[in-house]
């Protein structure tokens, strides 16, 4: 360092250059864009306020009806939460199975994913609603093929502990959650698998060298790091799921938000305000989810870089 200072000629410019005060690059395009956007927003606001078709009073009245609110809370939010619990839990399990050394587990996971990714959700939910026909005597829990074994042993009776009424299982919200959850698990399995594979293999090695069991290595070391990769697409999936709850109509679930709104709309012959009301509900719910995603990403991003990850911006709304 000192040689550098000495090398500088002593009799050079007596005044050393100070802070830079240069003319910044001009961005005329930005001003044009601002003007265009301001005009467009003004047009939109004008449309929203003055166009009679919106009928805001009716929109908010419709949104405030108890069946509609119930539809939103149960049909949309509750089903989204429950389906995503089934989906994320099942997906992580499937991903671990798929990556396991055990060819049976890995095969089962592959078949599950293949099956549930192949069926459109609308058709899956419709099928779920009709599955009761397969089990006219209900679904019994007990020894498999018990009647055959009992017959073979020359005994009588049955080895069943309890029986569920299939027509009650495969109906309403339960059928919806099972259908959406299993379908989601198939997609989440691929997301979780990508997350697990993104973790440096040296991590699992270091944990194994410390004497951790395979399960501990996965739970304590690999999965927490995989979550960093898993969370953003899962946010996307959750938002897609929120919207897919509108498919519950296929089961059918009549306690669903859009069904309830539509029935009000058809009573009063007002279709468009109903669409606006549904849009507002979904905008509200998605905004809340995005806030949640931001905090999740911050939690699982700890230790990676010194600052918290930037605000979550899920690209688009995901393909529903």
């Amino acid at each position: 360092m000192s040689t550098e200072a000495e090398a500088r000629p002593a009799d050079a410019a007596p005044e050393r250059p100070g802070a830079i005060n240069a003319v910044p690059v001009r961005h005329p395009g930005r001003w044009v864009a601002i003007v265009v956007i301001v005009v467009l927003v003004a047009m939109l606001v004008h449309l929203l306020v003055t166009n009679k078709a919106f009928d805001w009073k009716f929109v908010f009245e419709a949104m405030n009806q108890q069946p509609v609110i119930n539809g939103f809370l149960k049909g949309t939010l509750l089903v989204t939460v429950l389906s995503m619990i089934v989906g994320v839990g099942g997906g992580v399990l499937l991903a671990v199975m798929r990556l396991s050394d055990n060819p049976i587990l890995s095969g089962v996971a592959w078949v599950f994913t293949w099956f549930f990714r192949s069926i459109p959700r609308y058709i899956l939910l419709f099928t779920m609603g009709t599955l009761g026909i397969l089990f006219p005597q209900g679904i019994a829990f007990g020894v498999p093929f018990d009647w055959k074994i009992i017959d073979w042993l020359g005994m009588s009776g049955d080895w069943r502990f309890f029986t569920l009424d299939a027509n009650q299982v495969f109906t309403g919200l339960v059928a919806g959650v099972i259908g959406l959850g299993l379908s989601e698990a198939a997609y989440m399995a691929e997301i979780a698998r990508a997350g697990i594979m993104s973790v440096d293999p040296g991590q699992a090695e270091a944990a194994e060298a410390l004497g951790m069991s395979r399960g501990k290595v996965m739970r304590r070391v690999v999965l927490p790091q995989a979550m960093r990769v898993i969370v953003p697409p899962t946010g996307n999936e959750t938002i897609a799921m929120l919207k897919d709850t509108s498919l519950l109509l296929a089961v059918p679930v009549i306690g669903e938000l859009f069904y309830q709104l539509q029935s009000i709309g058809s009573n009063f012959y007002k279709t468009f305000p109903i669409a606006v009301a549904a849009t507002l509900f979904y905008l509200l719910a998605t905004s809340v989810l995005m806030v949640g995603q931001y905090f999740l990403e911050r939690h699982f991003g700890r230790g990676f870089g010194n600052k918290a990850p930037r605000a979550a911006r899920p690209a688009g709304a995901g393909g529903a």
Partner: protein, 258 residues
């Protein structure tokens, strides 16, 4: 019986024989440095000791325990993952790329294995972890995440993490190869101290001065075999084998004209 007793260890990757019959004995409290050109099999051999690689032939005993297999009347039975994990608890390992858990702080990294594997209470594990961090000179960085530490600091935490399991044997896989030159010294100092405390160590390294000062035995490997082994003053200062001589002179010329 020596602490580590390896006999005729062989290992192939896809028909490529990496280890062609390695014999090695390491006594308690001894430091053994494995030297040799890259691809000579020294890292593979190190990984075989704690079963990160399964061996194809030969036997490895650590503290009179056959690694990876149970010997019942001369017939070998592969151990279950759980049993292999139990064997690994006795052996600490330090990796070239540190492999600290990035989502945990330095302290959490060290506490993890004793609490999760041995079921040690959190409080005592934390106290011991703080002592270990102090020992590697990083007590003040206990709450830093690995990304906030320099390479040398990360490697010192990694050494403390391995020591937290109170191992009988420490394996070092090129612990300074991924470090900036000015950070090598702090890691070697910690290792030197560990050797002085009587830890049994097997070190794969290219640091000749460390090997010369600290090692009791230097093993030169090339092409999957042990070419030459003995005290550093013989193997490093006065190598008998032409391959050892060639390797050492190449290393020296690299040092002088980097």
């Amino acid at each position: 019986m020596p602490l580590v007793h390896a006999v005729n260890v062989t290992k192939s990757f896809h028909h490529n024989e990496v280890l062609k019959g390695i014999d090695l004995d390491v006594d308690r409290g001894q430091v053994v440095c494995l030297l040799g050109p890259s691809g000579s099999g020294k890292t593979t051999f190190l990984r075989c000791i704690n079963q990160l690689e399964t061996i194809d032939g030969g036997r490895i005993w650590v503290d009179d325990e056959l690694m990876g297999y149970a010997d019942r009347d001369g017939k070998l039975y592969r151990l279950k993952n759980k049993e292999i994990a139990a064997q690994r608890r006795e052996i600490g390992m330090v990796f070239q790329r540190f492999n600290l858990f990035p989502h945990k702080t330095a302290l959490e990294n060290i506490v993890e294995a004793p609490t999760q594997v041995k079921g040690e209470p959190r409080k005592t594990a934390r106290e011991r972890a703080m002592k270990l961090l102090d020992r590697v000179g990083l007590a003040d960085r206990c709450n830093a995440y690995p990304a906030q530490l320099s390479g040398g600091q990360q490697q010192r935490v990694a050494i403390a993490r391995a020591l937290a399991m109170q191992p009988k044997l420490m394996l070092f896989d090129e612990p300074t190869s991924a470090l900036d030159p000015e950070l090598v010294g702090e890691v070697l100092a910690v290792m030197r101290e560990l050797a002085l405390d009587g830890m049994t160590m097997i070190v794969v390294t290219h640091e000749m001065s460390f090997a010369r000062e600290v090692a009791d035995t230097v093993v030169f490997m090339d092409g999957g075999v042990v070419v030459e082994a003995g005290p550093p003053k013989d193997v490093i200062s006065n190598p008998q084998h032409s391959r050892t001589q060639a390797f050492l002179s190449r290393l020296r010329s690299e040092h002088e004209h980097p």
